[in-house]
């Protein structure tokens, strides 16, 4: 990703160890930017995969997902002028750095 590209408002991280491939997030995502992997994970599930772009950061996929940590939704940090006071209290530090796929 370069600075010239238009940055998405949101970004999706999927923990393939946790995902059970139920597909609820795929159904729920308004811009339809989640799909199902061809590869099976460690437990034998086909897992959710983020398309790589187009996420609006709405968080709906997170809400419908039954697994506590399968989905993490990230939001672009707003330019300083528009930034509101408090950050959401889950900060990225300390979250496990799982590649989305």
């Amino acid at each position: 990703m370069t600075n010239t590209e238009k940055k998405d408002r949101g970004l999706l991280r999927i923990d393939t160890d946790e995902c059970k491939g139920c597909g609820l997030c795929i159904e729920a995502c308004p811009p339809k930017v989640i799909g199902l992997s061809e590869r099976l994970n460690h437990y034998g599930y086909r897992t959710a995969v983020y398309a790589g772009h187009g996420c609006t950061g709405c968080g709906i996929c997170f809400m419908v997902c039954p697994e506590p940590g399968a989905i993490t939704v990230l939001r672009a940090v707003l330019p300083p002028s528009r930034q509101t006071s408090g950050l959401p209290h889950h900060d990225a530090e300390g979250a496990s750095p799982c590649a989305s796929n």
Partner: protein, 488 residues
Amino acid sequence: MSNQAEAGYVVSHGRSKAFYERFERKSELQHQTHFCPGCGHGTVHKMLAQAIDELGIQDRTIMIGPVGCGVFTYYYFDVGNVQAAHGRAPAVATAMKRSRPESIVISYQGDGDLSAIGSAEILHAANRGEHISVIFVNNAIYSMTGGQFAPTTLLGQKSTTTPLGRSAKAEGYPLHISELLATLQAPVYIERVGLGDNKQVAQAARAVRRAVENQVRGLGFSLVEILSPCPTIWKMTPVESQHWVRDVMEKTFPLGVFCDRTREAQAQTAPAAAPPLERIPEILGVVGAAEPEFSATQARTAEVDLEVRIAGFGGQGVLLLGEVLAEAGLDAGLEVSWLPSYGPEMRSGTSNCHVRLSSAPIDSPLVSAPNMLIAMNEPSLRKFDASVRPGGWIIYNGDEFPPECMRKDVHVLAHPFTHLADELGDARACNMTMLGALLEIAGAVPQASIDAALHRLVRNPRWVELDERALERGRAVCRESMVEEVTR
């Protein structure tokens, strides 16, 4: 540490802190829940964890786990955890909240647990307005046990125990817990939500949070019923079962708020501070200091061994008569016991009690062979007459002693004691006239002890005064009849 692609982003929706990092209480698959793919329980768990996070109550929260697919709440929630018996979580929650009012007690239950076996517990916890939050996951079936019919199963829905589908005729209609509980006056908040689509899910999350927040605010009983997919037992894909919630289940179980008294509800006030420990004996009335010393001196010449049976109709004051005698005996420094016949007998007619006064320790408090019988009416006389020990006494309330009951080997004092009491102003004092006669004969207890006992047991001063006169009158009658006997 974020990878490079995530530079410029922060987490907006991620794993709740109210969940354990890893589910170490599980023996395997510690990254995941034990729920089937697409199970509504997982989604509800997340809503609950998020509410706990947002309200900042993780340390205060006590989660009560049910029996059913939701049994392992303690695998996941990093809060205080208690696992309850099937259906009993509201009872467990009741006691925990009452003893620990500062804690936030959440009862997590499924529909078999809550609406069938635990229907009494939830109804009464709600009706008492317990300050707890109940998360009720309704998937219209017994899931963990393999798909048997539940009270919430839809009409026509197949289950392993309704193989042809639920019929109203055989199994009745789906039980509407939210509507049912909303008829009660105590609950402050009851809402039914679903997990049928994005909108429903968002509303469900709000409702779960409200149910917990109400408790944080001290408002009272809150319950959220969540229509929740069970893809495995329903034999549908997760997405199909989500749609089934919205398209089918919701028709039987309409969504909405059924009760909301959060605005009128008074916040719970802090419970009154417990009294200091030093005051407990006084509260219980077991402090010695305030009690008067024994009225009588312990010095006694004669051995006392009174075995008394007192019998009459209910309402004649049989038990009180015995109690005054025992209390007086105790005051006089004797060993005593008082044992009533109890139960329906007490209500429907006859009543009797056993009293022992003895200068030696009392072995058995049961008096099967009395040396004193007070028979306040004829049936009582006939019942116990034969049991009196040779040489003992029968004090009988009646105009004349029935000749068939006459025994050569016992003393008899027969007198219409009720008339005596009548003359004194109240027939109910008959028992004390008879006690007076007994004391006159037995002589075991000093008058001061009788007075002390009367004052301790009879609260109304008017009655104390009447009883004192009755006792004296009874004694007098006894003395007169003795004189008669001797002069005859």
